[in-house]
Symmetry: D2
């Protein structure tokens, strides 16, 4: 069975029950076999990371991240006076990065206790995981887990004799679904789920539709702070970085095709246009296509330009957007990468055939060579290139992470009845609060409404300032 | 309850009832006194415009507009085969421009009959009104109506012996409210209202809240095609034009403060940055403020920069954003104008005092001169500068007008029960349809989903492609 | 004989002698026949303008221009203390606009006396000419001169009993050449010529080559302040304005072809890209072509894209860049205009054939209609569209005009021997001085070199800061 | 007068004569002591690199560079038919990178033989040097040379029994000056020098002034292909890359001060503005300052904004632009780096005092910590950050390298008398030729002049197309 769990496709989970079977039988000796992390300096063994000895390096990365995460740091400062998560027991299942570490330590400072696993088998920063383990957090994650490891780690978070979770912070829905399937009783006692990813949210809505969702859930993925900041600005920053670090390509004058003009595509297009690329766009949605036109990008079909483009970037959330047939027709030297939500956008599997030669030229960079000598440059084997090949700005992650923290606080403290067993968007006021935590970084000064103006607009002076349907 | 002329401020007409009284007594001889428009070439007298003799010039303007309104022209083409508005009797109350004329003629081609008045006492293009009157449409509008004229004209549309309206297309809510107050029986027989403006929508939601809305209404103002195209792109185009035509100002290096970073402010900021201005922004909403930061604009308070800016533009939808105190402190030569939704943003009234001299230097351009010789350059007396001093791109209007036409068709043809007596947003699918009508202009080629992809995404191949809460 | 004097082509002047003949015989009654400008308020009749009664309006335009011409105003301030042009008698032959008026009054304030004619039969602002005449300046210019008028006016400046010119400020070389041909003795007594245009400079270099240049001349056209400010920034500002005022075209998504990527083309391309156009470029010079590539513009041949473009702009300085064959193939509605240096770039003459219909739809806007109904939109009949259809920012003109004033001062005051009978570029130091006069407008603060830094760089602390070949 | 290592400051070697003394005494056993590079696979020992075993890796880097250097590759293709450098014996002293290797191999393919040393003690790519040595080229360079090594290496190139150089390709002037001082007889037999750097050109002009230049020299540094491509576009690309790779900083909303608005500053400013930074500029030259204003950047003094900026970038070519006093006042976390021509712009030496702590957080990244805990982030210890911390686009280097190759060809083949013992700029026609070699990369199609047009413009159809003073 294939090994790509960045965002597990749905079909994988039809056999979740089977997996649980498999996983259950392999739990025994995980930590003792493949890792050098038996014990942290305080004697704890309740974790599983690659190498606890790298904790100091990871700690420095966490400290650097803290400098650029003003939202979380501001939340953390309030911990002393008011522990809004006191008593919260949170299962976390997310990418394990320095920024996540700042989130974890913030949640704990706010009163929570946590257990944490990775939502992705490739993205764990081992040094950061080590630093967290050394800090006493039960963390079960390392880069290069196999699927068995993956489920084992999540299970280690959930299934614990003396610690009964009451909240889930999920990214992709795997912790949620494992608990739902394997520990249904525990699941029904959960006070709330906070979910960040497209996929995880999709699964929650399906659960809700089929009446199987027995706890309230917050859809953080569709928060304005996620869609309009994490997607747009983060991708604007990271696409250039990812392409440069891997290929040293010059941008000026390059013909770039961006498949998909959602927030991710918009961010990529803006950055590349700013660097002198000739950018074109493909779209299925006429509204986004019309935006692309008005923004100065030609809207084409991939087939029409496949022979002339220098760089091809997918940002659709769809599958098989770039097929073998397209790849066959790309010109020599074309760079191909994926910024969308999963590794299915480019049909990389179709390139693993005998007549093509793969040559790894750098980390994350493969040349695929056709019999006639034509090469394409494939980045990160079609996985998320910004996650694999560039840094993600901590500041933007801070916005999303603060939203996650606030969603946990809201669900944990909401009076009975405020939230039913359904999927919610974060109240507008909290989105605004998260944004306000990040303004001091820019020395930005908000204008306050006068009483007269607030009355004229029918608004509270402290917000919320916009209706829920406002698009930003 | 107050009437709401977009341009005249609320306080002018404290009581609609009193107005109706006044208006009723002055209906008799309107058309015979102040206008040269007794009769069109076919002998009709059922209209009131400034000068029917200017019809030919207006007709040419309409023809020019048609070239840039592909959405309406495409809808019009279907009229022969399928008259979806057959039997619809529409009261229109909007700005009367060449683009509106294309909309009116489209609606009629789709089967409707109409009667039309202006929603604004200044914005009517007299030649276009003449062309419509000459074309046989009962149109009651001229530039420079007084308030009495204004209400008289709307009343002439509504109150007609042989023609009972069943739809309203409103911009500001005045037709809706006049009918509701003065002809309540007629109002309750209406099949639907389509409303375009912020103000009108606000009033509809208030009616709905107080259970006085007895017909379904479409909120077109918050359609994606309005907020993301009409507001953003139209303002991006027109701010430069409005400033140039009135003042010939050079943009390069100018310090500009934009109050409000909604769609209008975003459009203005982008255009001015593109021309080499140093742009700063004020905001009350931390989310929009954070967007401004990430887009490279400093977020300041007006007070902090009032002495250094060269151009001040309001786009807030608020009142008294620029006060006399601010105006006193602006530097010599500062240009002040309003791109927001009403003339209240700049407290122009406060400038009409004895110590200040007003000097009209060009049409729509006043120099206000302080005793020490300082001048500020006020455009359009604080009214909407893009409407007053620039053209609005027909293409963008076509998007909104097509949306209005589709909203009318939807409400008119919806099976009983689909819409209750409430305020609705247009179904996503129609937004997408409107967008698709405008893509051929750009020779844009949409990509189609394969069956496999549609299934993967859980979408119909023909759309809709996005959830309702999608922000674009 | 044909009537295009914007920049008279060389061939016209082969028969200059014949013209002089013709002109001489028609001098008698010019001012008494076609103009209402017999006498200004002080009784002078030494001028010829369209209508002296419009002087007040022109004066206001001059005052508005003064606000945006800080360089000239700063020079003017020094007049009281130090009249560097005392005794200078300057023949001016330039476009007559409000900005020129500010230059003229500055020169006079610096001690000069002047006589002035227009260098172009279409570009004179009649009200400004009237204001100058009313102010006592001998000015001979009106909009719509014929060729006879044109040469008569220049001759009126030169040939004057009691006033012997000693300097020429020329734009196109016509004053220079008329004097050289008709008044060679007077010509040889001139202290210096300042020439602004490409054409005039070209003619000066030809004179120099053939040893006929008997006075020193300054080539202002190739000053950095002209090429890098007047051409680049002025065109960046005016192309949008010219297109909007004439056609109200929406820029977003439009496909634009710019012929020529010199400073003018660069300015146009940057402005249009900033507004969301898809811009392409044609070039003959590989260096400029490579710049276009690196700036993100595709470099194509006109033939390759002629059927798809929405707007076609020439900025080459060449002739017949757009031929009838191209025009035949443009798509319906394409806008065609010229930003280059003369009206020869588009072969407009080829459109004046029987099968094509010309329809003037607005001032400066013609629709040319093909038998099959296709229309193209031709602006300003192919003449300079920014001069004809938009304002030119006074600020940028101030930079060039200050350069002209300084060039006059330099030539007039230079010690014998500094300049020989040749064509010179303005000393770098003066370019820098002109620039420094314009910085306060932007509240720009220059950094000063320390003694140590000046020594390290081998520079004088007061400049010049760059070698002559520096490109900026 | 002193030698001029770009990186080591002048004071290090107050007397070249003394150095030569020192160097001469240390030549004996260099290659035998500190390197593992005794012999390449063909048995040659005429080279000195770090580790010949890394040749294969270096060869791959050279092959990758070749893909992006179309100009050199096109020149190389002509080698078979026409060896324009046959007999040329070239001393090279430049940065040793993959791109340089492509240049070296091109020169050899054109008929030259070469000996090569590094012009910089830090910038050598050891693997590339190894690949060249393995390829049989006498190369003397490794990363981390000391000054003694540096001069020894150059001397090894020059002083060779059986190989008498007749051309010099220099970058900084060190090969030129060593030969001039130590081997004056050899120097006077040189056919030409090609110099690329600001510093080297400055030294050549000084030699020329003092009549000590006895050979013709080409100033490639001021070629349009260098100033307008290598400086502008290369820096536009590399500033983002250098900042991201070292600090992962988010650009959006950051306040950046760029010292110097020459080509390098312009490139940096454009890139950072495009990514949403708030960019300000310092300048000493009013012309460049005015350009910055018109381009939308505020021109300030460093002192005025030193407390508010997030990133400080020097691009002045000056020394001590950022002093200890400035550094003391920067805010916590400010990133400081240099893109100018030498490491003197930031007074890094002033930071090496007892009260400040240096903490190396990553390669090329130091935190300097003040007693109160404030940190600044210093990149590359103030050396050229793009050279140290980012890749330089091969394509842009190809433009400069092709220019160098053509300059060598021109000087080597010029008929006697064409060049005297002076410093020349490359003929315009060759600049154009270099540009044309790089257009096919972009599929750019040049337009050709018709005979009629060429005549009208007074140009040869094949160029050159511009006068020498044209600025681009």
């Amino acid at each position: 069975m294939a090994g790509n769990l960045i965002i597990p496709s749905f079909s994988l989970h039809s056999s979740l029950a089977a997996w649980i079977q498999l996983i259950s039988s392999s739990f025994l000796d995980k930590s003792s076999s493949s890792h050098h992390n038996y014990r942290n300096s305080k004697g704890s063994t309740d974790f599983c990371v690659r190498n606890i000895d790298h904790a100091a390096f990871g700690r420095r990365e966490i400290e650097i991240a803290e400098q650029e995460m003003p939202g979380l740091m501001a939340l953390k400062k309030r911990a002393a006076a008011d522990k809004p998560l006191l008593g919260a027991k949170i299962i976390g299942c997310t990418h394990i990065t320095a920024q996540t570490a700042v989130l974890i330590e913030t949640l704990v400072a706010l009163g929570a206790s946590v257990r944490w696993a990775a939502c992705n088998i490739y993205s764990t920063q081992n040094e950061v995981a080590a630093a967290l383990a050394e800090g006493g957090y039960p963390i079960f994650a390392w880069k290069g887990e196999n699927e068995e490891d993956f489920w084992w780690s999540i299970d280690k978070c959930i299934n614990n004799e003396h610690w009964q979770p009451n909240m889930i912070l999920d990214d992709g829905g795997d912790a949620t679904h494992l608990m739902l399937k394997k520990y249904p009783a525990m699941f029904s006692s959960i006070k709330g789920i906070v979910e960040e990813s497209v996929t995880g949210v999709h699964r929650l809505y399906q659960l809700s539709k089929s009446k199987k969702l027995t706890v309230p859930a917050m859809n953080v993925n569709d928060s304005v702070t996620k869609t309009k900041f994490d997607n747009l600005y983060s991708c604007r920053e990271s696409i250039l970085d990812a392409l440069k670090r891997t290929t040293d390509v010059m941008f000026g004058g390059k013909q770039v095709l961006i498949c998909g003009y959602g927030e991710v595509g918009k961010g990529c297009a803006q950055a590349l246009k700013g660097m002198g690329c000739v950018v074109m766009v493909t779209e299925i949605d006429p509204i986004c296509a019309l935006q692309a036109c008005m923004d100065g990008f030609r809207v084409v079909k991939l087939n029409e330009v496949v022979r002339q483009i220098d760089i091809l970037i997918t940002c659709t959330g769809n599958k098989n957007v770039v097929t073998r047939e397209h790849l066959d027709r790309l010109k020599n030297g074309c760079i191909v990468c994926n910024m969308g939500h999963s590794n299915t956008e480019i049909d990389v599997g179709s390139l693993r055939t005998q007549e093509l030669t793969w040559e790894k030229v750098r980390s994350q960079v493969d040349h695929i060579i056709w019999p006639d000598g034509k090469r394409i440059v494939l980045l990160a084997e079609g996985r998320l290139v910004n996650l694999s090949c560039s840094s993600v700005p901590s500041f933007v992650v801070s916005i999303t992470a603060s939203t996650q923290a606030l969603a946990l606080i809201e669900l944990y403290n909401a009076p009975a009845g405020r939230y039913k067993d359904d999927v919610y968007l974060l109240p507008k006021k909290m989105d605004e609060y998260v944004a306000s935590l990040h303004l001091p970084t820019f020395d930005a000064h908000l204008t306050e409404l006068t009483d007269e103006q607030a009355k004229y607009l029918g608004l509270n002076k402290a917000g919320p300032f916009k209706p829920n349907y406002y698009r930003y």
